[in-house]
């Protein structure tokens, strides 16, 4: 114990106060810094000196500079940021897609009704050239609207695609920054200088930003280094080294895929394994959602082109003139009027015969398409039956996407559904029963947007002894009105031929039972099957014979499995509803995530945030302590003075 120890104490106190003041100033300066955790100099007693009188204290020292943070909260916030960023991207783009489909902007269903109205106008005024012109121009408008919606959708798709590539670059930048911060922190810790608080703040911030881009899992090792992996287990940051993601572009489609580079420089495709963050939203939007909308639009365009052309081709004694340019793919992208119609509106067909110059049956039929249900999409439902467990008395085959599923006389709706589901792995089509009230329907859902189901009669047995029942599934009340069924009647194969030839008759919506009979009879020479029509109380029956042998009718044939699709307008309305539903959901989810995130940030701020009131109080506190310590110097100095002046002076 000496005067110099008092000086020491004073000096230590001063130094401690200065450090505290500096830390407080650092806090004040960073009051608005995002991701900053407030720091505090932790003061502790210096090691006491043992004396005869007991342990003598030696003043104060700054033990460490502590950072206030909650690592659990930081992890939760980072995870929440993944969800939030993903929803933000979803909400933003779905809102843009929604405005493409918004009827006020696109006028799609207005154009559809205008087009078919024009056909009705032409039908009631077959001699008018003006009406022809209107048909051509409304058709053109409809094609333009569909094309421009397609362009808008693919433009968004392209934009999202580019963001995938940009995001991967961002991710690489972030992972290498995190890795270098890991190194800095490691070195700071290793050199014993205490924890590197500011580096750790920066790193937390970068980890949060990274999790916004891609879903990650983090853990801190014993050396305070944060290791980052993608949620599916690929390492992104391992201690001081980082692993890059790369992008691989498909040359044909321009689509960017995300790859992970391993030590050998080979890239593994991880596009499907990304579970969160903006990257997932971009990939999902690009590949699934926008792709789905484009498919829907394509389905509409395909149906319009094919249905209108189907009837138009029958005009003027089946002259085969198309109204829309026929195509086999890219319907929404390329839909346009045919060259014939563009060349002259006189090529627009109104009458089915050239003799009846002002007959309007073709125009009327096309105009009436607006009320038809031509679009099947990827769900077809049958007519409603009263029970799922009583035998339907229908026999034949359902040809589903090329695969045959037998339907027997004793089969109930439930059995039929089960039989269809047994072949789902081959056809991709699943069957379910939908019950409303007391009636049930068979609903078929396909994976692709084009589900092809046709009604089929029994199979050919080459020996000629098997039964070819009537076409049990068709029993209309008239043989001269359109059956409104579309499908194919399989007349079996000729196994003797090489390759085995496939015989069939296509049934179109406008075909009457008489047409079907005539079509079957047209190929009797090759199939050996002929058809006649008989009439009884239950309706008209189509009877099939092999040779001259009449075939007995099996059971009650009053039921049919009629399938209905959806009208153009309903299909369009469905698209609008669908987009609206998705956008609404995304916005709601985004709002929810934002609110939750705000709550979490609030909790974090409670722990780590800087409150100016606190810091200013601390400033005053440490200022006084500094003043007191300075005063201590004075006292020690006076003591020295007394000692030096009084002791040893002569």
């Amino acid at each position: 114990m000496s005067v110099s120890s008092i000086l020491n104490i004073a000096r230590n106190a001063l130094s401690a106060s200065q450090t505290s003041l500096q830390v407080t100033s650092h806090n004040i300066a960073n009051v608005d810094t995002d991701g900053y955790s407030r720091q505090e100099a932790v003061l502790d007693e210096m090691v006491p000196t043992p004396t005869a009188a007991g342990m003598m204290g030696n003043g104060v020292t700054v033990k460490t500079i502590m950072r206030y943070y909650d690592s659990y909260l930081d992890t939760v916030i980072a995870n929440k940021n993944s969800d939030l960023s993903e929803q933000k991207v979803n909400a933003k783009y779905l809102s843009r897609i929604e405005s493409i489909f918004n009827e006020d902007n696109s006028q799609l269903s207005t154009n559809i009704t205008n087009f078919f109205s024009a056909w009705h106008e032409l039908a009631q005024d077959p001699t008018s050239d003006g009406a022809r012109q209107t048909v051509a121009s409304t058709g053109d408008n409809l094609a333009t609207v569909i094309q421009s919606m397609y362009q808008d959708l693919t433009a968004i798709q392209g934009e999202v695609n580019e963001y995938v590539a940009t995001d991967v670059d961002d991710i690489n930048r972030l992972t290498s920054s995190i890795a270098s911060l890991n190194n800095l922190i490691f070195e700071a810790n290793a050199s014993g200088g205490g924890s590197a608080n500011d580096y750790m703040d920066q790193r937390t911030k970068l980890v949060k930003e990274l999790s916004g881009k891609i879903g990650i899992v983090t853990f801190e090792d014993s050396r305070n280094r944060v290791n980052v992996l993608t949620a599916s287990g690929r390492s992104l940051v391992d201690g001081g080294s980082s692993w890059d993601l790369t992008t691989i572009q498909d040359k044909e489609t321009g689509v960017w895929k995300v790859g992970w580079m391993d030590t050998n420089g080979k890239a593994a495709d991880i596009t499907d394994q990304i579970t969160g963050g903006e990257l997932k939203a971009y990939i999902d939007l690009r590949d699934n959602q926008i792709g789905g909308f484009i498919d829907d639009l394509d389905g509409l365009a395909k149906s319009v082109i094919e249905d209108v052309n189907y009837f138009h081709n029958q005009g003027n004694d089946n002259a085969g003139v198309d109204f829309f340019k026929p195509m086999t793919s890219g319907y929404a992208r390329d839909i346009t009027l045919s060259d014939e119609v563009k060349g002259s509106v006189q090529n627009i067909m109104i009458s089915s015969t050239t003799a009846n110059t002002t007959d309007n049956d073709i125009a009327l039929r096309i105009g009436s398409l607006v009320d038809d249900n031509p679009i099947f999409g990827n769900t077809i439902s049958s007519q409603a039956f009263a029970s799922t467990s009583t035998a339907l008395n229908i026999s034949g085959y359902l040809s589903i996407n090329g695969e045959q599923v037998a339907v027997g006389l004793n089969d109930t709706l439930t059995n039929i559904a089960a039989n269809i589901n047994a072949k789902t792995s081959v056809t991709g089509v699943t069957a379910s029963i939908a019950t409303t009230g007391s009636r049930s329907k068979l609903v078929l859902t396909g994976a692709a947007s084009d589900l092809h189901v046709s009604l089929v009669n029994g199979n050919l047995d080459p020996s000629g002894t098997s039964l070819l029942g009537t076409l049990d599934t068709l029993v209309p009340s008239s043989d001269t009105t359109a059956l409104s069924l579309r499908g194919r009647i399989e007349l079996g194969q000729d196994p003797a031929a090489l390759p085995p030839t496939h015989h069939y008759v296509d049934v179109a919506r406008t075909d009457t039972l008489q047409n079907v009979r005539d079509n079957i009879n047209a190929i009797t020479a090759t199939t050996g099957i002929s058809a006649t029509i008989t009439n009884d109380a239950s309706g008209y029956h189509l009877n099939l014979f092999r040779g001259v042998t009449p075939v007995s009718v099996d059971g009650d044939t009053t039921r049919s499995l009629g399938f209905d699709g959806s009208s153009y307008v309903n299909y369009t309305a469905g698209m609008v509803s669908n987009v609206g539903e998705m956008s609404k959901g995304a916005t709601a989810l985004e709002q929810y995530q934002e609110d939750t995130m705000a709550g979490l940030e609030q909790q974090r701020a409670t722990v780590s945030g800087v409150s100016l009131d606190d810091e200013f109080a601390n400033l005053i506190k440490f200022q006084h302590a500094y003043q007191a310590a300075a005063r201590l110097f004075n006292v020690a100095d006076e003591l020295f003075q007394s000692l030096l002046t009084n002791v040893g002076a002569s």
Partner: protein
């Protein structure tokens, strides 16, 4: 719970922004008069609104179709009335020529008049309205009646859509008016020949034929009458449908302006309150109290 400064400002900004969003949406709804601006506002109603709007559009087209039919209907009525008058005249001629009070010159001039009437009937049969011959059936580009009464149109007439999945005949064929049952032209031509021949017996037989024509014509008149009446009925139901659909649409989609304006004043009060309270909080900063 510690409230930090940054947090205070952030939540102020968030609150202000969300109020501004609501005010903006309110103003958009007031300006457009619709409560559904985007499909996501109410997806189900948005879809139904599309369907309703399309049904309304098609209904307008069907109304136009009915207009055309009504116009043609008037011409048909006119034509059949004229035929009635002419047949009456022919009957008069037949009665006077069948008696013995008239000589051959009288009969010859009657025959001339009958020939004239035949030509008038041909002209009626070739009535052309807006570029198409209304009695031609499915061949309305060329005159269906030759001067000798031969009909080159079709008995079938075109169908016109008057409602979804509903069509009616778009006209009446000349064959139905002039040639079904009794052939009016053949009857009159024979009458004219018999007049010139002065064959009183034949003329009396012709009178029966003329009566048959008159009967048929009054049937036709009734038919045309009911045809035009049915068009009127269709008009009524078309307009009723229009009204119902318009009302439904307006209920579904139109905004209630009064409640929007009330909402706006609530929102703007809240907005001002937030601004005011933030301003007041500025004065409570510790820096104001330290020397």
């Amino acid at each position: 719970m510690r409230i930090t400064d940054r947090l205070r400002y952030e939540s102020f900004k968030t609150n202000l922004n969300s109020l501004k969003e609501k005010i903006d949406k309110n103003q958009n709804m007031t300006a457009s008069g619709k409560k559904i601006l985007e499909p996501s506002d109410d997806p189900v109603i948005a879809g139904r609104s599309v369907q309703l709007q399309s049904a309304l559009n098609m209904n307008t087209q069907y109304e136009r179709n009915l207009d055309k039919l009504a116009m043609n209907g008037a011409f048909y009525e006119n034509a059949v009335n004229q035929i009635t008058n002419m047949l009456t005249r022919v009957k008069e001629l037949a009665v006077s020529c069948a008696s013995d009070n008239i000589d051959q010159t009288g009969r010859t001039s009657a025959a001339d008049e009958v020939d004239g009437i035949v030509q008038q009937l041909v002209t009626i049969g070739n009535t052309k309205v807006a570029g198409s011959y209304i009695f031609g059936g499915k061949r309305a580009l060329t005159p269906p009646f030759a001067s000798d009464g031969t009909f080159s149109g079709t008995q079938d007439v075109i169908n016109i859509a008057v409602d979804a999945k509903s069509t009616i005949s778009g006209g009446i064929s000349g064959a139905t008016i002039f040639k079904s049952g009794t052939d009016i032209f053949a009857t009159l031509q024979k009458f004219s020949t018999d007049l010139r021949a002065g064959d009183k017996g034949a003329i009396r037989t012709d009178m029966d034929s003329i009566d048959a024509c008159t009967d048929q014509n009054s049937n036709n008149l009734a038919y045309v009458g009911s045809y035009t009446k049915s068009i009127d009925n269709l008009f009524d139901s078309n307009r009723a449908k229009d009204l119902t659909m318009n009302t439904t649409e307006s209920d579904m989609v139109s905004a209630d302006i009064a409640s929007l304006v009330a909402d706006y004043s609530t929102l703007s009060t809240a907005y001002q309150a937030v601004l005011y309270s933030m301003g007041k909080m500025q004065d409570l900063a510790i820096t104001n109290f330290l020397r």
